[in-house]
């Protein structure tokens, strides 16, 4: 039997949902226009006033926001509430120059945790469950979001954060965790370690996992489900819109229901910005209609996916999004961390290398690998192998400092990295995600 956290909203008729969205959007645009000079300027430049937005049908008139806007407006430029009314800051994992920070009032925290509570309930969670949260805690939204959702549902919550896998498994066994929340690659690793430690799924009580923050395949889902003896649910979100829980999977496991009472989703053509009809593949754009402190309107996620309103067997009427098929720009998510090729370029230049490089990302045994090929220069070359390998290690360490994840660096002869006539092909992503 399907469980709902808020059946009235999750199964609301299309007509009522549209009415709710219309009201909230109109109010939100007024709030933003009055309180966010940065966005007001964008609207003024486009010749749009709050009076022009009378319903969701007018949404397309509003200007887009992109990650570049968030960086430009860092840190307070998109804030719509006085700081005295904000209670929390979270930040993106990417560190391309300026971080992106998001602000929350208590109302914003509540609605975010409420979204996470819906996800946990859809995965079968109740107050009788023991929910082990192994997403990172801190500025990253994964830990705090699921932790809050778990509290709302009334689960006994284990705020483990990530790492120390053997201890994770010991707690899982001793305290009989029933729900696991983490990135899919970490779930796969926990499964692997469980079996390496000589345990089987009979030794644990897990029944469900809520996994997100990085792209993963159906194949990986099946593997995790088998190795942990659970049903694995996808969850989606981004710091810019609140965090995990913007959308979540139900028992049907065929896409994620978007919490439309808080976020209006659109699919646009990433090149022209034109809104595409339902069922088209394009870039996902979110408009926050309830958030107070950091209400982004028409925020371009760069995630490519498809929206569908086909009837879902779970009974929810919330629109469903497919797993993101890829990013519309160069950003990579590697082991849950946002990586921009430009960050690697920065390190290369700092270390005295020419910015001729290629990044290869792959997934081996359900874990992401990052290889960086860099062209050797005359002044870095030595007649001794150990010197060259030392240079590779130094470069890898510098990249790790920048990204937070370790790459393998390969120095290659000059001109061996293929040059392109247009935009350089910096990234070869071999992960098969669809």
């Amino acid at each position: 039997m399907e469980r709902y956290w808020n059946k009235e909203i999750e199964c609301m008729s299309r007509e009522d949902m549209k009415k709710l969205q219309d009201e909230r959007l109109v109010a939100q645009v007024k709030h933003v226009y009055a309180n966010v000079p940065y966005y007001k300027k964008l609207m003024d430049e486009k010749g749009v006033t709050p009076d022009d937005i009378r319903s969701t049908a007018d949404l397309h008139k509003l200007p887009f926001l992109t990650k570049a806007d968030l960086r430009e407006a860092y840190p307070y430029g998109l804030l719509a509430k006085p700081l005295s009314e904000c209670v929390r800051i979270q930040s993106t994992s990417g560190t391309t120059g300026k971080r992106v920070v998001a602000f929350y009032t208590q109302h914003d925290i509540d609605l975010w945790e409420d979204c996470c509570a819906r996800a946990i309930t859809a995965a079968g969670g109740t107050k009788d469950d023991v929910c082990q949260v192994c997403y990172g805690y801190g500025l990253f939204t994964g830990g705090p979001g699921l932790n809050g959702g778990s509290h709302k549902v009334g689960c006994l919550t284990l705020p483990m954060s990530s790492g120390n896998t053997e201890r994770q498994i010991q707690f899982m066994i001793d305290l009989q965790s029933t729900i696991l929340c983490c990135t899919p690659s970490y779930a796969a690793y926990i499964g692997e370690t469980l079996h390496e430690m000589g345990y089987t799924t009979d030794d644990i009580k897990l029944k469900a996992g809520i996994f997100g923050a990085e792209p993963w395949t159906e194949e990986m889902r099946r593997e995790i489900e088998k190795s942990l003896g659970i049903k694995a649910y996808d969850i989606y979100g981004l710091t810019e819109t609140s965090g995990p829980g913007v959308s979540f999977e139900c028992s049907e496991q065929t896409g994620m229901h978007i919490n439309e009472d808080h976020f209006i989703a659109e699919i646009i053509d990433p090149d022209t910005g034109e809104v595409l009809p339902e069922g088209s593949k394009g870039e996902l754009v979110f408009t926050s209609i309830t958030k107070e402190a950091f209400p982004l309107l028409r925020y371009r996620t760069r995630d490519i996916c498809v929206l569908t309103r086909e009837k879902c067997s779970c009974g929810r009427t919330l629109v469903k999004m497919s797993k993101p098929l890829g990013r519309s720009d160069d950003m990579l998510i590697i082991r849950g961390v946002n990586v921009f090729p430009s960050q690697i370029e920065t390190v290369l230049i700092e270390q005295g290398y020419a910015p001729n490089y290629q990044i290869e990302v792959d997934r081996i045994n359900n874990s992401d690998t990052l290889d960086v090929n860099v062209e050797m220069s005359d002044d870095k070359f030595s007649d001794m192998v150990k010197d060259i390998q030392q240079k590779e290690r130094e470069l890898a360490a510098a990249i790790k400092t920048m990204l937070g994840i370790s790459p393998k660096v390969h120095l290659v002869p000059p001109k061996t990295i293929a040059r392109s006539e247009g935009k350089a092909v910096r990234v070869i992503d071999k992960r098969k995600l669809v």
């Binding site: 050797m376 070359f381 030595s382 007649d383 001794m384 290659v412 002869p413 000059p414």
Partner: protein
């Protein structure tokens, strides 16, 4: 007493080595000795040739990453124990051998060893003191 050795950075891929040797042939360069150090990803081709400066220029012009390193060439008797004395002598003088490679001359019972050590001056001193025959650059190039 020092010999110029050319080192070339070569991708560990089919055809790379032949591209170098072809270039050398076209430039009429005579190879005296060579060795290859390789890893999974790359190799370093080390060459002793008759005209190192010219060779270096030709390789650079063709886009290769090249360096010149000073090494020592030493003549030994082509008989058991010939090399042992050299290595012992360097060890006694606390000199590290980074790598070495040997070749046999056209003249009978003579062998040559190219030595890359961490300190050329001290190595030469120790070898000369122990009466080993060091080759002059011109002797090697015109061999």
């Amino acid at each position: 007493m020092l010999i110029k050795q050319i080192s070339i950075f070569v991708e560990n891929k089919p055809g790379r080595l032949s591209a170098v040797t072809k270039l050398l042939a076209e430039n009429n360069i005579d190879i005296r000795a060579l060795s290859v150090a390789d890893t999974k990803d790359f190799g370093i081709l080390r060459l002793i040739v008759n005209k190192p400066d010219e060779t270096c220029e030709a390789l650079k012009k063709a886009g290769w990453t090249v360096s010149l390193t000073n090494v020592i060439a030493i003549g030994i008797t082509d008989a058991p124990g010939g090399l042992s004395g050299v290595v012992e002598c360097l060890y006694a003088a606390n000199i590290s051998v980074e790598y070495m490679y040997a070749f046999i001359s056209k003249a009978e019972d003579q062998a040559y060893v190219i030595l890359r050590v961490d300190n050329n001056d001290r190595a030469i001193e120790a070898l000369v003191e122990n009466n080993f025959t060091l080759l002059k650059a011109s002797e090697v190039y015109d061999m």
